[in-house]
Amino acid sequence: MLSIENVRSAYGRIEVLHGVTLHVEAGEIVTLIGANGAGKTTLLHAISGVQPIMDGSIRFAGNPIEQLPAHMRVGLGISQVPEGRQLFEPLSVKDNLRLGAWSRRDEDLEPELARARAMFPMLDAFWERPAGTLSGGQQQMLAIGRALMAKPRLLLLDEPSMGLAPNLVDHVLAVIRALKDDKLTILLVEQNARAALAIADRAYVLETGRITLSGTAAEIAADARVRDAYLGI
């Protein structure tokens, strides 16, 4: 579904992705693990089209998309839950969700809004409240709900468990599993490598802008270096 080849990207003159190659098949959860500053968020931004790439190709459903502007990529079915939620804080929960469907705004949104309400019951009581007044866990649910409003075929999740209490982390992971059961394809970036490997099918390890390891989640979880560096065992 998604195939990235030899992608290089830089901030100014500092190159942070030195030729990244990976692929995500339909229906998979693939996780990308790596330390802070390895380039995980940059890669997701490049896939969404909000970070320019200097070289390489990004193909989605067989078609090259690296030349498309960000807003057209959402229309194709690539939706992202960005790091740090990035909600529209002055707007209500409902408006955040409705804006999530901006790329398909001519359609009837009521079924999707009802679905989001059912999926995230904790948002229901805050329906008309500004998103900025929600707690961290509620904000994360809203960020996921907003991304789903676009009816994506591929969901990019950037650190969805960051800064959440352990019970909320479990909740987020349960939501991701439920999405997989709904046949959604997911690329998950997570600093909580243990949790990510537990729900992923396959994994890549990104180190200072290069993929250094790839395999099934079980293989990666069993790798001595990964256990040492990312799982703390």
Partner: protein, 290 residues
């Protein structure tokens, strides 16, 4: 008492114009973080194009519509051809571009039009209406009514339409707006167009009262900027209140102190705001949350 009433009326009238100019600043600043110093030239173009189109024989309402249309096109062109190509430049560089555009537009107006002062007939004649001993020009009421309608329409648009919400979303979080598929460049295009249209309307409204000329925009932009600062840059209600306050303070100081200092008042207010309340009356202090 009649004297005070008179000053209040003229303060409100000119304040409504400042409020419209300030709203133009606010809209563009919200969508793009740019202070557009060519905002005053939109006001000038609105007045001057109407004057010359009317002189050319067009009926006044048609001339006014043409002026709004052409000024909107200029606003759009300013973004497309001057600001957008410099995407990624620092805010200071972008502000310089708008200052350059402002000088350019003044120069072009000087050549296309002329260097003289011009006026327009007011919509309901020039005979003042007496209220409580004060004389109000009918045009003042037109200005106040039109400004109120623009503010109301703008508020309804922002509050009730998805496009309005997308403008707020872009202002609140540009990255997130792009990630949900908002073409943020079009949103900024749109904000320049609407700001230009509002500026043009302000220019058309004020011309029967205050005259216009190729360089009338400079001072209006500075007053409007002072109003936006006073209200809190980026706050639409702040822009309206700030505009009315500056107009009022200016009229009262001209009436009770000396009209020589009328234009200095706005600059004094900018200084006071910057020193004592840099976030303005309605602006929120920037708090970085992690």
């Amino acid at each position: 008492m009649a004297e005070l009433l008179q000053f209040v009326f003229s303060g409100l009238t000119v304040g409504a114009i400042y409020a419209l100019v300030a709203l133009g600043f606010t809209l563009i600043y919200k969508a793009s973080d740019i202070i557009n110093f060519a905002q005053g030239e939109f006001v000038m173009l609105g007045g001057m194009i109407t004057v010359f189109a009317a002189q050319a024989g067009l009926p006044l309402p048609v001339a006014a519509l043409l002026a709004i249309f052409l000024t909107t096109a200029v606003g759009l062109a300013l973004h497309r051809f001057a600001v957008a190509p410099a995407r990624g430049a620092t805010p200071v560089a972008l502000i310089m571009i708008t200052i350059g555009a402002s000088i350019f537009l003044r120069g072009v107006a000087q050549i296309v039009f002329d260097k003289r002062f011009h006026s327009l007939p007011s919509l309901f004649g020039g005979d003042p209406i007496k209220i409580g001993g004060a004389a109000i020009l009918p045009q003042s009421l037109v200005v106040l009514a039109s400004a109120s309608i623009i503010v109301l329409v703008l508020w309804l648009f922002i509050d009730r339409t998805m496009l309005g919400k997308a403008v707020i979303a872009t202002a609140a979080n540009r990255l997130a707006a792009r990630l949900i598929g908002v073409d943020t460049r079009s949103i900024v295009d749109f904000s320049f167009a609407v700001s230009a249209a509002i500026g043009a309307i302000a220019g058309i409204l004020i011309t029967p009262i205050a005259l216009t000329s190729y360089d009338a925009g400079t001072l209006l932009a500075l007053k409007g900027f002072a109003a936006a600062m006073l209200g809190g840059i980026g706050s639409a209600p702040g822009a309206v209140v700030g505009g009315l306050m500056i107009g009022m303070i200016e009229a009262l100081s001209a009436g009770y102190i000396s009209s020589n200092y009328k234009d200095a008042v706005a600059f004094l207010i900018i200084l006071v705001v910057l020193i004592f309340i840099p976030q303005g009356l309605f602006g929120r202090a920037k708090v970085e949350r992690v």
